[in-house]
Symmetry: C2
Subunit: 368 residues, 2 copies
């Protein structure tokens, strides 16, 4: 194999696929990037057997061939080379030279015979959304998945397409995060669970804006994200997702609007007094047009008050401040509206169009 390409392009390709390189593995091949030079194309692939990523790199193929190289070493070398043209060449023993200006590295490569290429994903069912939107909906829901080993379904997010709308749902037993997106094109109905790990990787490598699209293809066992010159394939999570619709069709007794920034800063401060293991609730007293916050812990106490605009009755209710913060942080609006019923049922934070919906279960605050 003999190829040449600009350092920047190669580095971009390497960082794209690196997310699917396995770092803790007894199979050395899983920690490699597989480089294929064929038909004038340079293709990089990494595959940790759960997620596979391939990315084409702009460059010149001088001699076709293949080689697998330890990903970290390749990435470190290319990163430190000058911003210039890189020449890579592999001999019959897969010894590989990487040359750039006056710098010449010689490292060992592997044939890659045992490298698993990406599975072929059937391209019949698909949707198209912007890279910006995909990144947003992932970042605005991913914190609500669970890393529970007992309930696999909670480790992924529901991707549901119906009536030309994509609904993304994450649920961890204490809270639900939902994002709804109108689709531009007509689409077939779909209901799959995508592993959180794959979504988290994708959110880091789709760097495009509102005008750059990503195609998402849904097959029986796999999902394929295709954008720019990159493909990400992930297996799907098996199992049936929770039915959540009857939790959403509820009338609320209490509704109030609050400044997002003020509420978030205040919750952030309250978290200073709680150790993760404490599970101390923050107590919200909603009275007329004022929200009083109070936290009492072994470390100390905090009291604050924030003006709100309220409709409905008064309530005293407790929450895990982290759960409120995660949801509120994900919202772009200056003011947010929160709905409640009683001290036992979840509060709901949503906008009028229901582009986002966050349900959070309250915590008992005893008689304090």
């Amino acid at each position: 194999m003999k190829i040449s390409c600009m350092k920047g392009k190669l580095m971009q390709g390497i960082s794209n696929v690196s997310k699917a390189v396995s770092t803790k593995t007894t199979h050395p091949i899983l920690s490699c990037i597989f480089i294929e030079a064929e038909n004038g194309n340079i293709k990089l692939t990494a595959n940790d057997m759960e997620i596979g990523i391939e990315s084409y790199v702009e460059g010149t193929v001088i001699e076709e061939g293949k080689v697998a190289i330890e990903a970290k070493l390749l990435s470190d070398i290319v990163r430190k080379l000058p911003d210039s043209e890189i020449h890579m060449e592999t001999n019959e023993d897969f010894k590989t030279t990487i040359k750039c200006e006056k710098s010449l590295f010689t490292i060992a490569g592997k044939s890659g015979e045992d490298f698993s290429s990406l599975p072929v994903v059937e391209k019949s069912k698909y949707i198209t959304i912007s890279q910006f939107t995909l990144r947003e909906i992932i970042n605005q829901t991913i914190f609500s998945i669970s890393d529970s080993e007992y309930n696999n379904v909670m480790t992924g997010e529901l991707f549901e397409v119906s009536n030309n709308r994509l609904r993304v749902v994450a649920i961890d037993g204490h809270r639900i995060a939902i994002r709804n997106v109108e689709l531009k094109d007509e689409s077939q109905d779909v209901k799959v669970i995508v592993p959180g790990k794959a979504l988290s990787y994708i959110s880091k490598i789709v760097n495009g804006g509102v005008d750059d699209d990503v195609n998402i293809y849904f097959a029986d066992n796999n999902i394929l994200f295709e954008f720019d010159r990159t493909k990400v394939v992930s297996r799907l999570v098996e199992g049936e997702f929770f039915r959540i619709d009857n939790m959403l069709n509820v009338d609320y007794q209490i509704k109030f609007t609050i400044n997002k920034r003020e509420f978030l800063d205040c919750l952030d401060r309250s978290s200073l007094l709680i150790k993760e293991s404490d599970k101390k609730p923050i107590k919200l007293t909603i009275e007329d047009n004022m929200l009083y916050l109070k936290i009492d812990s072994l470390i100390g106490s905090m009291n604050e008050e924030i003006e709100i605009h309220k409709e409905g009755s008064n309530i005293i209710i407790g929450f895990n401040p982290k759960f409120l913060m995660d949801a509120i942080r994900a919202i772009d609006d200056d003011d947010i509206t929160i709905y409640m019923n009683n001290t036992k049922s979840p509060c709901v934070i949503k906008d009028e169009e229901e582009n986002y919906i966050y349900l959070i279960l309250p915590m008992g605050i005893g008689s304090r």
Copy 2:
């Protein structure tokens, strides 16, 4: 105690003294910041018994008093408060309230009876340099101290004043770093060893420029750095520093000038092929007007060449690339000049005025 001050001023004071807060201690008082409000002044002090820092905070003393508060909690609370006026008040049990806008924290404090104030340092011998220069000379030498437990003297830096010149020396057994600074004012001769830890802290809190001075006072057992409204006192390292002068008065057979950036980038790349534990040298072949670099390790090999301007004979010599990098990185010049004699004696990197001098011992490269 009852005081008020702006959040920004208080936060600055807290971060200044926080460097001397002990984090791993069985004495709870050492992990506290001691606040004293007296004679209209608000003074914060932290003291881990090796280094003590005190810093005055601009503000209003409404009621005199003292309190010691756990440093991390105080710092976290103040950091997260709004950018506004902070009111602090302590009752007879040292319970302390911190109020800012609508936010009210109540936390436990301590009397601070067992808090050790800073030792009084005699102010007879001193020098004045700019904060900028102090930070520079520390950053340009501190990497050459040793963390050896066996030789205490190597854990500090020599501060030597003679003929109105300050010489700072750090030595770790394999290399020496020296910075010389002309002093503006006439000064008495001094020769002390300052602990590296204190110097590292100071370099982080002197944020002033070339026009902001720092006074350095030398006493028998302590050194005091005084700047802005802050004092840092450190004990000195006991013992006699190495005599290095006969190592410096040497004639060199070989002298060459090299572009700093090119050399540094090249050494940086070579370090990819060496594991810390390997102790592999980089082989420099200096021939006519070219420097050839070569490294061979289990991971792979690297070859590079850089144009130089040389006087004297040719040489093949090995170095720990990290030691070369540390020294070169600390130099501001675009081109650097390196002096050598033979494969056994140290190479010297210095400018003509000897503002900086770096000596680095070579490594054996065998017959490779």
